[in-house]
């Protein structure tokens, strides 16, 4: 097995003990501290990243499971010039207060929006609450986060319609 992980589109050598938590590899070896550690037991969701596009709590994933696969962290959303629409919505609506839970929430929201775009209709508020329920936030009361995801979805759908039209 090639001990390499493709992180945010760039290949990273990941020749560390196979049972290293992916969260530790990302933070300490790849220097990607956007991924946060809140509990190390998969309960808070702060360490969520996308593994081949699907959200996982990276504190519970061994690095070996990510060898040869794609990992997306919060640093992989948007680029230097542009924010991802979901980042824009979180920013505009003040969905972040202290911000510690936000990186994990953003990548989960991105996965949810990608699925919604693939099926062609936006998520409902209830769906957003259900799909993001693995994330804890102590500051916001969640309402602005839900509104931000719905707004990002709406904006994304508008773009899609423009492309189609």
């Amino acid at each position: 097995m090639n001990r390499v992980i493709r992180i945010n589109g760039t290949e990273w050598p990941a020749d560390v003990p196979p049972t290293t938590p992916l969260s530790d590899f990302l933070r300490e070896h790849a220097g990607l501290t956007g991924t946060k550690i809140g509990c190390r037991t998969g309960e808070c969701g702060a360490c969520t990243v996308l593994l081949d596009g699907r959200p996982v709590t990276s504190c519970l994933v061994w690095v070996a499971r990510a060898w040869g696969r794609d990992v997306t962290t919060v640093e992989g959303l948007g680029d230097d010039q542009r924010l991802d629409p979901v980042q824009v919505a979180f920013l505009e609506l003040n969905a972040a207060q202290c911000g510690f839970c936000i990186p994990g929430l953003l990548v989960s929201a991105r996965a949810l929006l990608d699925e919604a775009a693939a099926r062609g209709w936006p998520p409902t508020a209830l769906e957003v609450r259900e799909r993001l329920s693995g994330h804890l936030c102590r500051c916001t009361g969640y309402q602005k986060i839900v509104e931000a995801v719905l707004k990002a979805a709406e904006n994304g759908m508008k773009e899609m319609r423009l492309e189609l039209g």
Binding site: T33, K36, L83, L91, S133, H135, L136, R138
Partner: protein
């Protein structure tokens, strides 16, 4: 100021970093040569340390230091000996000298090159404990013969607070109704998402750099300096962005442990709590017990109120003394009474030390009192809105303790929340709990708070700020109150921006660092926006005056003819636009140009405006009389709940919150504060409880200690009413804590309205509600039998 930012929703100025994952919290920082520190904590709730052997731990490869109480530097008089110290009561030690007092007490600490090596070393430290009898319940701790935690404080009393005013006997004689009730609130965990994390570096000459979360950097370093036996000025405290605190991260023993490990090893030391450690030995909201006697006249006017409070300090005293003082008498600034008396005891037990948390003391008392108000309203046949209006303070009032209410839109809050929630559809509570199914109910509660509190720091009240223009044209603002995630930096940037005619995004708010920030009282007591905001406004005005005078010199204009707008100084009178021309109307200079020219004219110095705000507050003397806060925020909340009669489970299905916080600077972050406060209140009311058995926290994780998730919090309606506060230079009052304060009683009153049972002990778990329903049924059945027998 229609073009300004104030009053409009504004994204947090540091939100771009937050959504990009670039905000660096303490645990994200790494210093060269950094070691990892860990704490060995007591496994017994009370005991004498007979022996500590660290020799095996020191042999673990990678371990650089192991410290115990024997390694603590002298901090006694004239630099000799060890003396206990602490923020309120001198019962802190850094590391236990001879005795441990709770499961989690700090016994030894390790620094190693990796977390694994540090963890291994902890296992190899041998400690022999001689167990002592322990006491975990605060009432038992007050019993004669209870185990005593601190022999020098017999009876386990950590502190007490007493207050009395008015003629109780005279007031009581007029009573038509007297309610005597017992209520209690429980121990909860702040449950911020970022576990406690600190970094320390030691420098020659007893100097330290500490990167650590705190609301009160200047106060915290005084405590740390006392612990280390050094001058506070030797500690540079840098406050990193905080991943939540809600009151827990004021002053932390771990900071001194990290500093000592750094001193011993000569290397930077990082210490990060794991969640279980944080939840068990971080700090908790204290449990409070209330006995309240309230006398009312026939019209529902409050005559007298007598209160006895017992609260848990835990094994050491952190910030709980002001919590019990608040619980004892802050309600007297919400309602008028003819006479009041309160006594409050703070009691040691062999449990994790408690500390302040959002709305401290006030939220607990409101849980009890706002339920009693509803009870009185029902017994007297008065509408719940009306009875509150009859007793609440109004603008211009002076309360029984001399607190001055500058503005209050509480009546408007009540009317508006009643309208929004359709409170008139509320039916009387059922006499018999429904037999099955789900029952709905509506509950109302009001609340208030201070906007800063004079007794926090004896030396002074208020805040100072600087506004600065550098030679590169950069505008920055410095305040000493840390942003704790609520958006304070954005609010002060907005206030400065409007004074200076720029966008808030063009202003940097400097991180709080005791090396260069104004010395501040801190971000606590709902004081940051009113105090720092007013100071920034004053600093911006001073800055503008200096800037216009300088621009006037350059342009040959009278400063009175110059305006500062859109990032430049413009010579207003006459003429068209001609930025090129100096010395005539219409000429202008950009801030960048002015910064460069000021620096050139002042050998590199930035242009600095200074400002401060000193509210007209009174430091209460022994009589505890006088106004301690410039302004008082008010709120009225309504909760709608659905109670599953068969399981006792309560769901909050709707929530309305109307607040008078004076002028609102940023409606977006203000709304977020209320939503977050309500969510925390829902968690406390229904779900959260730190379970301690035999001194051990049994649920130190998010699986067993559940905080509200996405599906536990309903959509909330939040509105603001009220006018600009006359006693506040920016017109603001406060919001952070008044957001939480009415939540518990609103939910408890709604549960009563749904099923006819009143819950006296928070939290309202399914079991508690179910039991109360069964009890009520039994009482009704017994009463029925009695009637038949007659």
């Amino acid at each position: 100021m229609s073009l300004g930012s104030v009053g409009r929703p504004w994204p947090q100025i540091d939100a771009v970093d937050k959504v990009r994952g670039r905000t660096r919290y303490a645990a994200d920082m790494t210093l060269p040569g950094q070691l990892y520190g860990r704490i060995l904590r007591s496994p017994v709730p009370h005991g004498i340390i007979r022996r500590i052997d660290t020799s095996r731990a020191l042999k673990v490869p990678g371990v650089r230091a192991v410290i115990t109480a024997a390694d603590l530097p002298p901090n006694g008089p004239e630099g000799k000996g060890r003396v206990p110290f602490g923020p309120y009561v001198d019962d802190w030690e850094i590391l236990c000298s001879d005795r441990v007092r709770y499961i989690g007490d700090e016994v030894a600490a390790v620094a190693a090159v990796s977390e694994e090596a540090a963890a291994e070393a902890l296992e190899l430290i041998e400690v022999e404990y001689e167990p002592l009898p322990a006491v975990f319940d605060m009432h038992e701790a007050l019993e004669p013969g209870a185990p005593v935690l601190w022999p020098e404080r017999p009876g386990n009393i950590a502190s007490r607070f007493d207050i009395a005013r008015g003629d109780l006997d005279a007031a009581r004689r007029k009573a038509h109704l007297v309610l005597e009730e017992r209520y209690s609130t429980n121990r909860i965990y702040h449950a911020y998402l970022e576990p406690i994390a600190v970094l320390a570096e030691a420098h020659p000459g007893d100097r330290y750099t500490l990167i650590a979360p705190t609301h009160i950097p200047y106060k915290a370093r005084v405590t740390y300096a006392r612990g280390l036996g050094i001058d506070p000025g030797k500690i540079r405290l840098i406050v990193p962005p905080m991943g939540g605190s809600f009151g827990a991260k004021y002053e932390l023993n771990v900071c001194m442990i990290a500093m000592l490990l750094a001193r011993k090893t000569g290397r930077p030391v990082k210490m990060v709590f794991d969640r279980a450690e944080d939840a068990a030995a971080g700090h908790h909201r204290p449990p409070l017990h209330f006995d309240i006697r309230l006398a009312l006249d026939r019209d529902g006017r409050f005559l007298s109120k007598e209160v006895r409070i017992v609260a848990t300090a835990g094994a050491r005293t952190m910030w709980t003394p002001p919590v019990v003082a608040t619980a004892a008498h802050r309600i007297d600034a919400l309602y008028h009474f003819e006479a009041v008396r309160a006594e409050a005891l703070l009691v040691y037990t062999n449990t994790s030390p408690t500390t302040c948390m959002r709305g401290f003391g006030n939220a607990e008392m409101l849980f009890a009192f706002e339920q009693m108000v509803d009870q009185a309203a029902e017994e007297l046949g008065i509408d719940p809105v009306e009875i509150r209006k009859r007793n609440a303070v109004r603008a211009g009032d002076v309360t029984i303790h001399g607190w001055r209410i500058g503005s209050s839109a509480l009546e408007e809050c009540l009317d508006r929340v009643a309208l929004l929630s359709g409170f008139s559809r509320r039916k009387p509570a059922p006499r018999h709990p429904p037999a099955s199914g789900k029952a709905r109910g509506l509950g109302l509660a009001i609340g208030h708070h201070v906007s800063g509190y004079r007794p926090i720091l004896a030396e002074y009240d208020g805040s100072a700020a600087w506004v600065r223009l550098d030679m590169d044209g950069r505008l920055s603002v410095a305040v000493g109150e840390p942003d704790i995630g609520q958006g304070l930096n954005t609010v002060v940037a907005m206030i400065a921006a409007d004074e200076l005619g720029v966008s808030p995004s063009e202003i940097d708010v400097m991180p709080v660092d005791t090396a260069h920030s104004p010395a501040a009282v801190g971000t606590l007591g709902s004081r940051a926006t009113i105090m720092a905001g007013a100071a920034v406004k004053a600093a911006a005005r001073d800055f503008k005056k200096k800037l216009l005078a300088f621009a006037g010199e350059l342009l040959g204009a009278d400063p009175g003819e110059l305006v500062l707008e859109r990032g430049r100084v413009l010579w207003r009178r006459g003429g068209g636009e001609s930025g090129e021309r100096e010395g005539g109307p219409g000429a202008s200079l950009t801030l960048a140009e002015l910064g460069r020219r000021w620096a050139a004219a002042h050998t590199g110095s930035p242009l600095v405006g200074q400002g401060s705000y000193r509210p007209e507050t009174v430091l209460p003397g022994p009589d505890k009389y006088g106004n301690p806060s410039p302004a008082y925020p008010f709120a009225a909340h309504v909760a709608e709940v659905e109670v599953d009669v068969e399981t006792g489970a309560v769901e909050v299905v709707n929530y309305w919150a109307v607040h008078d916080s004076g002028r609102i600077i940023n409606p977006s972050t203000a709304t977020g504060q209320v939503q977050g406060g309500v969510a925390q209140g829902i968690g406390w009311a229904l779900m959260e409880d730190v379970a301690i058995r035999g001194g051990r926290v049994e649920n130190p994780n998010f699986l067993d200690y559940r905080i509200p998730g996405f599906q536990d919090v309903p959509p909330m309606t939040v509105e603001f009413v009220g006018e600009s506060e006359p006693n506040s230079p920016t017109g603001v009052k406060s919001l952070g804590e008044s957001a939480l304060n009415p939540v518990l009683p609103a939910i408890a009153n709604a549960v009563y309205n749904a099923v006819g049972v009143r819950i006296h002990d928070a939290p309202l778990t399914p079991e508690a509600v179910w039991r109360a329903i069964q009890r009520r049924r039994e009482e009704l059945a017994a009463a029925g039998k009695e009637r038949e027998a007659q």
